[in-house]
Symmetry: C2
Subunit: 206 residues, 2 copies
């Protein structure tokens, strides 16, 4: 399996397939089809079969996909067959909400630390976390070996925070700030950009 | 142009092309190519040309795309050549952060109202908004003719809020709650799901 050859656009659809499968499992379902996943996601069944075929053979012609099996296989492909520890940078309203977010359960992620540079926030309790001083952030992340960070600081500070996270060995940054971050090519960045989602919907409002 | 025939997966890429073009414009650029957009987004140039060709002819062979022109055309296709008013439901940490979010400027959206059902929150000032009582939400939204809502309430309340928004005439819901919403087929829902973005990045961490 040559991971390098698989386009990122295909990798990017796997989490959506995984979410659909996990929903079906919660509904008590055991078997599904590319048709059904496709209808739920408004993607063609052919596209789903083609995407999955890049990674292996997961279903039998005519019998569909076993939901627990395919779920486990996609979790392995995406490296979320175990939980990743994460840090949140920024203990403002957004960072606090992100640190307390209930949606990471069973998705492969767990917030472990929250950092801020504001002396008024350092030491405060945020959910189950005490806000730590971001002056020690690089060393603390390195010691803990954490590889994933969520950035919820104001836009003007986001690039400097990203630079520090890269220095700390972070390999994936989920950026909530409305600014594009520059990082080395061995670090991934995804942006939470509500406008992207909204524009996809306004297309359908006549 | 038969909009119905265009797959949602293609519609979903247009906002990303638009964001790239707007970034290039801010960098002072006038002309770009499908190759360059593709490199920025990790999508093939052929895919971008194929996607855009679904909507018309926007560039000349060999001379690339005029950035202001293509920006304007995609804004028209996505119906964001004007600003849409929006409501935010939920004035907790997340709703407050969403209502104050600075990233909607020049993207086609403007928050106009914030609602909550909590008597302790109603009447509070959130940025430039006073939190309104969600008991009057349906009527208030109908009178204002607002079509887009962002839902930032706890998961157990999100479906009931969505039901009310549908009754109010909302046509597009951006859901921040970690739960899947059921709405009629003439209403669009998109979910802000950080796990989807994170899983796309963990694929690349060996």
């Amino acid at each position: 399996m040559t991971d390098k050859a698989i386009p990122d656009i295909i990798v990017g659809r796997l989490p959506m397939y995984l979410r659909s499968l996990q929903r079906m499992a919660r509904e008590g379902r055991q078997v599904t089809s590319s048709q059904e996943i496709g209808e739920r996601l408004r993607i063609s069944a052919a596209q789903i079969r083609k995407d999955l075929s890049q990674f292996g053979e997961f279903g039998k012609q005519g019998t569909g996909y076993n939901i627990p099996y395919l779920t486990g296989e996609i979790q392995k492909i995406l490296h979320v067959d175990h939980d990743w520890d994460m840090v949140v940078v920024g203990a403002g309203e957004l960072g606090t909400a992100v640190a307390r977010y209930k949606g990471f359960t069973n998705r492969g992620f767990k917030v472990k630390m929250v950092f801020d540079s504001d002396p008024d926030k350092i030491g405060l309790q945020v959910g189950e976390f005490v806000v730590q001083d971001s002056a020690q952030m690089v060393e603390t992340i390195q010691v803990a070996g954490i590889k994933i960070a969520m950035v919820a600081v104001p836009a003007p500070q986001a690039q400097e925070v990203a630079n520090q996270l890269v220095k700390a060995g972070i390999r994936a940054i989920l950026n909530y700030a409305p600014i594009s971050l520059n990082v080395p090519s061995n670090v991934s960045v995804q942006q939470i950009d509500p406008s992207i989602h909204l524009q996809r919907m306004t297309y359908y409002i006549k």
